[in-house]
Amino acid sequence: MLEIIKGYYAYFFLVAVFCIGLFGMMVKRNLMKKVMGMSMVQSAVILFWIVSAFKDGATVTVLDPARAVEDADLYLNPLPHTLMLTAIVVAVVTLGVSFALLIVIYRRYRTLEEPLLLEKMQ
């Protein structure tokens, strides 16, 4: 049991982050808190990719004269990292769009609390 926790603690942490994010999106009434939850979900997924590329004792894929070039075990898989660079960009843009929407909503209704908003829209 301890072995599993020790070997995969990062994954447990990410599952927790993912679930907290989902919980926030679904349960919280404030739109800003929903955005925060959404951001946590995205971050958890991005970190999941990064963690999946982790290898014990390996380093970044920059040529190090001290290490052997042929041994792939000495280098991390660079692909997930580069992919997640794109995913981070996407996440940032999503945040930007969601903030823009929130600003529009706030300007019109002067609140971001969902029950109040729905009341004012009636």
């Binding site: 999946s52 794109t86 769009v97």
Partner: protein, 500 residues
Amino acid sequence: MMTSHIPLLIPATFLLAALLIPLAALLWRRLSWLLAVAATGLCFFYAVKGLAHVTTAGRLHYHLAGWQPPFGIEFVLDPLSAFFSVFVTGVALLALIHAGRVVAHEVSGVDMGFYALAMLLLAGLSGMVVTGDLFNLYVFLEISALASYSLIARGDPRAPLSAFRYLTLGTTGAAFYLLGLAFVYMSVGSLNLADVSHLLPDVGDTRPVLLGLSLMVLGIGLKMALFPLHAWLADAYTHASSAATALIAPIGTKVAAYVLLRLMFFLVDPQYLRDQTPLPAIVGCLGAAGMLWGSIMAMCQKELKRMLAYSSVAQVGYIALGIGLASPLGFIGATLHALNHACMKACLFLVTGNFRVRLGHSTLPRLVDDLRRTMPWSAAAFTTAAISMVGLPPLAGFFSKWYLVLGSIQQSNWVFVAVLVASSLLNAVYFFRVLERLYLTPLAPPDDTDVAAAAATREAPASMLAPTLVLAGALLVLGIFNAWIVSTFINPMIPSRLGW
């Protein structure tokens, strides 16, 4: 020479147009519309050319920057993607021609933004169709999603909130897709669709792959508005401007359905999936549930656009049901229904736009039978599309349902048959309710005093009427020539592992 570049040219043209439109709008505001229509027309031309090449000479592969497939990104036009790119660009072209007047009428002042975002949306959607790389698909998915959030945010006062809800759910869907992709990548070590599909049989432990696939299906199901993940759709379509709805509703969910087809028929062996996992059965059952739920909700609506939005939930269910059958007939039914539904729904939403421009509203209780006289062509187009939605021959909608019924019977899945029948009847109920409004003298005069003032005085302008009628005519043509479409375009795309 140019033919080999077509897979890239389609999304690239849209991206270029998205960049050019803000510049062009500085010169002359109307130029942004012209440019958008021209770019879409050009892409439609490319897509048709690509489809012709694919059917006669085989598939087209384009390696971005010359990197060979498993390492670089690959754009592929195979029978499936060529077919989808043709009707996605075709329907978008008609919707954009139609949008010219609607945008000026409903969201005037932001036409530049509208067309630039529309181009981004189409770049994303067409990119999702042509890309052969699973991560690239995610990027295009997000491009199209971000563009559609922004498009939907313009409309009536409630639009921003519905766009926000769509954004949170859509982003979660994309996150699920990305998470699932991580599992697949960790097991297989490749992101190229063909490569993954090739390597999968050698993977020893299939559980992570299946988990990843399920997560991807969940994410795409959200985008596709598969029951019970459809909550965002009704609000998003209702409160957005008619132009945005007419553009997004017919093709947005169809491209998501395309991704689902790709995942469940091409990424993994569909027969293995059907026999060893409950995934296709779950997708099929959710589709069936959506067909009933969407139809029932549509019956309760008073707003035409909202009714059509719920009807979309039901129609997406038909596609999911076909995918869930995981058989050649189910595949034909799903693909044909994607095409038919895109045309039918586009036609219905365009007519709604016509009503909104001429009447100022599209609320059902306030529609009067004068429309029969003042807007005869719009009413006729609506009737054609509605009858096709109900599924009466010889219109297009009948034939996709025919293949789905055949497929369900072939597997002795009588529950699906019963649901198909029930859903068609429910369709008839809510569409004939509208048709009665359009054609029959109301029994009691409507109590709204402003009805007389709101009554239309003339038919919609030609730029709106022409695309509407083209789509209505297309429904008849698609219905009559469905056997030709199936044998020429759809049969070649059925994966050989399915054994046709």
